[in-house]
Amino acid sequence: MLDQNPQPFVEIRGLCKWYGDFSALHDINLNVALGEKVVVCGPSGSGKSSLIRCINQLEAHQKGTIIVDGIEVTPDMKNKEKIRREVGMVFQSFNLFPHMTILANLTLGPMRNRGASKSEARELAMHYLNRVHIAEQADKYPAQLSGGQQQRVAIARSLCMKPKIMLFDEPTSALDPEMIAGVLDVMIELAEEGMTMVVVTHEMGFARRVADRVVFMDEGEIIEVAEPEPFFNTPQSERAKLFLSQLLGH
């Protein structure tokens, strides 16, 4: 249904990416509509991270076009900064700034880029800290928080830039099992509020509940795109079948 949206928010056409001579992404075509939630999965090394990192140009692509909110993504610095203010990103390893308090982690972006005053930025930060249920930790340093708390702070830090789309790169893979649910809950709330999301994850429960589409990748190519139920129950390609059986196997 969302596929018929005439104006996709993110439009990726013929995307190719190499690391040196190694072809990491080959001829990727993918559209993401405003408000859509896309889950990307696939074996390790299949190019999932490379794909979403091209969207905010943490990695440069060599061929094809990426258009975000009507702006074509180019390696030009000004262009990159503009794109990155619309695109939030959450990493597997949180990457909070260890020398700053939680609050300072959150206020840095708005103060530097949106010209927010200290009190405005503070208010914004507290708003998002409340939303990820962690406001009471504002004055602590990242190392004093658990992994799950740190990841929720990282989500709040991205939200402070008021992005129109959020990219998640295996946000729960580095977490102890008992921490995962808290982070997924925050992501589900975000989805329910209508955020556009591209999530690299192997959490099938999350995908089933939230995703509009699941994109399955292998060896730098998109093999299969389907809604979650058909994808998980009756995958079409041999490679997806193998991947899912391995995922459930242990």
Partner: protein, 301 residues
């Protein structure tokens, strides 16, 4: 067992017989050197002649006034401060260039570092001194600054740069020293920047920070904490290396000490005294840096 009992005390560190024997051997060596100097060398010790060059009694005013060696110490201190500031600016800039994406800047900074690291300091200093002072300074007109202009003829200028008559001499010394030490600081800064986790770059870029803000707000504060110990060592090396600019007649402690030693012929006294001055200077800086390091470690939880 009661878990609330305190843990057993660690064994105390004591000096053993072997340690004491080692100390006595060192003491014996020092005594022997002293014996050679006093009895065999037949050297006429005269500390007061040399101390006169630290402070002397001025007959006109009837007061003690600083003399050559104290002036030299002051110049060395000024030289160290200015060269440290300049070398830090050079080192941070070049250190960043060493790591940045721009190929031209990488080549430039690499060239600078390799040039300086592969020349003997004396050779570099001679080449650069004769180039700076004879070409650039003349072109810039540093040699003929107005020594009695309001900008120059005031106590603040003297405090910062010393005797206005020797300004171009001082500037050449500070520049040459800064350029020399800057190369080593460049490498320390580069290592510091590269030691910061890749994820920190990505996260700060991902929230849309400009390259300058990424560096200033996220990377450098973390790099500085890691490079503070080697940086402190390099600053102290800089103070010691400043003695080498005596070769190009910069009127600092070593240069003036050479003069004092030759006029008084009291070589031992002069160099022992000057050695103590350098030691006190360097050791005070070492203590200060140690304090700064502990403070930085405390604020970084």
């Amino acid at each position: 067992m009661d878990r609330n009992t305190p843990p057993p005390a660690p064994p105390k560190k004591r000096l053993t017989i072997v340690d004491l024997a080692l100390f006595s051997m060192v003491a014996a060596l020092i005594f022997y050197a002293g014996y050679r100097v006093t009895d065999v060398l037949v050297y006429d010790w005269n500390w007061s002649r040399v101390l006169n060059f630290v402070v002397r009694f001025d007959d006109d005013t009837g007061r003690y006034v600083p003399n050559l060696l104290l002036y030299g110490l002051a110049t060395t201190l000024r030289l160290a401060v200015w060269a440290t500031i300049l070398a830090t600016i050079i080192g941070v800039t070049m250190g960043y260039w060493r790591t940045c994406d721009n190929l031209a800047l990488r080549i430039l900074s690499r060239g600078y570092v390799e040039l300086i690291r592969n020349l003997p300091p004396v050779v570099f200093i001679f080449i650069f001194y004769f180039f700076i002072s004879s070409q650039i300074f003349t072109a810039l007109g540093v040699d003929d600054i107005d020594r009695h202009g309001p900008l120059v003829d005031n106590p603040v200028f003297s405090l910062l740069f010393g005797d206005p008559a020797l300004f171009s001499n001082f500037l050449a010394g500070a520049l040459v020293l800064a350029l020399f030490e800057g190369a080593y600081i460049t490498e320390i800064v580069r290592a510091g920047i590269q030691s910061v986790d890749k994820g920190q770059w990505e996260a700060s870029r991902a929230i849309g920070l400009s390259p300058f803000n990424v560096l200033r707000d996220v990377i450098l504060p973390q790099a500085v904490r890691k490079i503070l110990p080697p940086l402190a060592g390099q600053f102290i090396t800089l103070i010691k290396d400043s003695a080498i600019v005596s070769l190009i007649s910069i009127q600092e402690l070593t240069f003036l000490a050479t003069e004092v030693a030759s006029t008084t012929t009291k070589v031992f006294e002069t160099w022992i005294l000057v050695g103590m001055m350098y030691f006190v200077l360097c050791y005070s800086f070492a203590l200060m840096f140690g304090w700064l390091e502990r403070r930085a470690a405390r604020s970084h939880r």
